[in-house]
Point group: C2
Chain length 669, copies 2
Amino acid sequence: MDNKQVTLSVDLLKERQKCTFNTLELTYLLDGGPERTKERRERESYFLDDPELKSSIPTEYLSHKEKYEEAIRVSCLIFRKVLHLQEEGKVGIENFQEILGGQLGSSLIKDGNPLALHYVMYIPTLMGQGTYQQQAEWIQKAWNCTMIGTYAQTELGHGTFIRGLETTATYDQETEEFIINSPTLTSYKWWPGGLGQTANYAIVVAQLNTLGKCYGIHPFIVQLRDEETHQPLPGVKIGEIGCKMGMNTTNNGYLGFENVRIPRNQMLMKNNKVLKDGTYVESPSSKLTYGTMMFVRVVLVQDVANYLKKAVTIAVRYSCVRRQSQPKPDEPEPQIIDYVTQQHKLFPIISTYFAFHYCAEWLWDMYNNVNSQLEAGQLSQLPELHALACCLKAVSTSDCSAGVETCRLACGGHGYMTSSNFPSTYGLVTAMCTYEGENTVLLLQTARYLMKSWQNKVEGIQLTPTVLYLQSAQASNIVYNRNIDWIITVMEQVAAGKVELAWTHMNERIKKGLGAEDAWNHTSIELAACAEAHCRAFVVRTFYSEIMRLKYTISEPLRIVLLQLLDLYGVTTALKCLGDLLRFSGTTGSDIENLQQWLEELLSAIRPNAVSIVDSFDIRDEVLSSALGAYDGNVYERLFAEATKSPLNAEPVNKSFRQHLKPFLKSQL
Amino acid sequence: MDNKQVTLSVDLLKERQKCTFNTLELTYLLDGGPERTKERRERESYFLDDPELKSSIPTEYLSHKEKYEEAIRVSCLIFRKVLHLQEEGKVGIENFQEILGGQLGSSLIKDGNPLALHYVMYIPTLMGQGTYQQQAEWIQKAWNCTMIGTYAQTELGHGTFIRGLETTATYDQETEEFIINSPTLTSYKWWPGGLGQTANYAIVVAQLNTLGKCYGIHPFIVQLRDEETHQPLPGVKIGEIGCKMGMNTTNNGYLGFENVRIPRNQMLMKNNKVLKDGTYVESPSSKLTYGTMMFVRVVLVQDVANYLKKAVTIAVRYSCVRRQSQPKPDEPEPQIIDYVTQQHKLFPIISTYFAFHYCAEWLWDMYNNVNSQLEAGQLSQLPELHALACCLKAVSTSDCSAGVETCRLACGGHGYMTSSNFPSTYGLVTAMCTYEGENTVLLLQTARYLMKSWQNKVEGIQLTPTVLYLQSAQASNIVYNRNIDWIITVMEQVAAGKVELAWTHMNERIKKGLGAEDAWNHTSIELAACAEAHCRAFVVRTFYSEIMRLKYTISEPLRIVLLQLLDLYGVTTALKCLGDLLRFSGTTGSDIENLQQWLEELLSAIRPNAVSIVDSFDIRDEVLSSALGAYDGNVYERLFAEATKSPLNAEPVNKSFRQHLKPFLKSQL
């Protein structure tokens, strides 16, 4: 650890002495090797040790406008440093998420980087959807940051259903320009990050009209503000959308157009084209854009797991310092982590982090495989990847949001303080349940794949690897034994049972005369539920496979810890869907009593290593940004030190006393 | 409704035309009669129609300090108006929650009233724990608001376990004074509302020492600030604790003492006394303070239900205006409320509001009964009330928090906007899971009562009414039928089964040689779970009994609606604990398929009345404070209007462009 505090909490010291494994070995394992750990630490130092990047007072005390202005100051500095790293070849596209969002980014600017979409959406879209000529013209400017772009798709009245977007881009063959318009209030772009006061360019998604016909949505490069004065260009109505639950410095904006003209070659034409005379030329392989669309969802799974890792680190350390009650007279108040209910809140969350970490790695590998296949014109694995990315995004963001809140609530009142860093972490994480695909919508996407797969099974068609278990799961009747294999088998039986039930109920409705889409809607509660069950079985199985794969490359003491975490994840997952276990597998009441016992034994087995496991995450104090979670455990000193930073505490008597309170109190005499 | 908007959303108009019952009848029913509705509306008008109470710009854009100053301005005006109503006899202690917290209060000051604890804790404690002489001396001043008080109990290091408080009050018989001290950092008072910069007096809870002996915690009246200058008095170290997840204008403070002396008669001595010579005289009935301690928890259940009522009103109306996707080609995008998954998110929340509303009424009646018994020296019902208040507080705050978030997420991205009012509602509601008893701690309190009750059952001792079902629940074997009676029976079987299991496991551990407290701790996951199951059975039963009681006093159309909501509450409650149903009652897999069908039928039965039910809650637009939930349904116009209020939108180019962004962009050329 980089933290060299003079005094360490005795409680945490004792915890660390109990450790049974090598924490550095786990750090290397999670980073992907000692070299990767070293690089990450160097990147962190490069940013975190720069005093210019620190704000003079905690930003939460500033006004909304001041917060934005400070975020611009810091984000420009971050971008300068990113460019510097690029020049030195020390940073690639795979590091942007870390620096701009995720772990490190959210500690540099707590409430969101207003420039982030430039790297996260603007440049990738130029690269993915621009022709080579367009890339030559635009990418250099974008990479060098002589422009700042954003990505404007969502509208005030249209989110999930992008075919319903209303913004129009109408081709004028006279001038060889597109005319962009916002025909209604609901067609205003709404939400793009950095759009409010920051970006001067945007990719705008609009309905393409040419020669009197609408060809659906297409992307266009639109300049929004003058490069010198930053004034909005004529016809561009632009501003920010106001305060939000979190991410208040991302400068999400609105955008309306009134006859804004752009040259024809600012339509991104890698796929479809509009020729000079207005002729529309469709791409033979429009599915090619599909791969890049999935990128963000794939990255999200790792990102959301990283937030959970921060939250649980804070909660575990705090729980070892905080003491409460006196169950036994004459003994000191115990550390709250020794209450089994507290262990039951926190330890499963540690294991959840590992589960999603390994799923994210798995998904990333599959994404890269499918992408190379796509470039070779192979589309066959795309639907399977899509189905998995959808449900994993939904389940991971929803579980991690809940997990962050569980960690916060497990820290009692102090978790409610901004200085705990739980509130802003929750603000960032819960937003992920909505953006890049609303979770219920995504589960229903996965359900479509599952329904097709079940149909294939019925028709004897070969199933794809991730749903292969549907073939055999129900057939196998397995007797309970205290083993993760048993859990995986019954979770797959549950998933298969729920898929079959949804399929049956939907088809019964169709047989009764309901149209396919109405039958779908009426069965949708069960459809979403079966997609979730499928996902949960996948997560347990993937966690298991990854640990089995690692089994012989890691030391015995670490293996024991990882197997405990795997078992704990399996047991808590199973206990959360008891009803399903009893319905769809041969599980009995006494099996469940045994599962509960197993759970209690695992909690107590993990207890001595709890602090060391979160220490292995190797998260610097600056990244945790939490008075409750720092490495030294000096919780109360830090809480107090943070409180003294409040501008209200800078003067003994606030002016509102003279203005309002005193006149009121005295008027009653 | 008081809302006389010119244009009403056509969608909402159509919804209202479908209504099958008289919304005014339901409004009266929930208020407790037409007279109560009239009074409430008058109170609301008295506050909401006063233009002085409105802030000039939405407070979320202000700095932390400015927010506080504006809250003081408004709260002084509110208190003036409250005093005026008191003079006219139009307001009693039962209305304070409404005006200072809950429904109306949170619309007047969105993030918490910094003066609220004066009425909510300071005055009630003076009344409950002061002698008649002390009341004569202090109450008048407090009622007239020539002082502002708060209640300082929780310390930086001590919350739940109040016996562990460290602040000391040591009696000095020479001067007949108590000397108040904060011996450690962890002994600093931390959290009291209004303590930071606002209150000039506090009830301080401290360890009483006299004649060399400690007698445990007692309450003292301590002056904190000079009445003229508001400067902290010598030895008083005071300030606010900083930003929080919500409630940022409640001015929660910290407080340390260094040899602060107060006269002997400022110890509140209704119960225990310290005589002039330092002799400690214990009250014969120290349990008398117990009743007042319960008051806040009892009130909380209604309060949290009211927040849920606001949230679901917003979400239901928005879901009728928002349209999305196009399941059937050539048809318009459907209202999102027509998606069954959306109904499944929202309609159970409507029913949850009713369930907790009726439980809160029941609890309030029991509280008043027990309180009159207490005054007659009867303590027998106190433990039963305590057990119920604990689990109802825990389950209602936890369900309502989850419900508010479900409503928010069901509104997609727009729910994340501050202008939706979900974020600040969640901030207020989730805080209730922690304050006035952390929820897990409270469930374990209820579990203690259940363990004793089961022991009584085993020993043949008569059980109290609310646990009487433990006697017989398991014995009865009941065949599934689609009826709320069946649900109540099986929910009680579940609760009884879980109580027995926890009791058995705890006793097995004791038999194996574990001490009682360790056995308790090791069984605590199951103990908390059995308390929750007990509570859920109680809520369904109470909702049922109240509807049965009303059955013949309300019209047939309204009765149908209420019975649908009751059934829906029962069915969703049962479906949430499927595993328990299968384990502890005779429920079978096919019963569950039938339950799921019943659920789907109820959702579709409630669908036409959804908007009218929330309309009946009769919540003024100002109280909803939501761009998404207003009566007129003009969602997009309001979202846009709110966005334009952002100070960032007041100028076309923010100064940070010249300061930071332009130099950065140009430096790369």
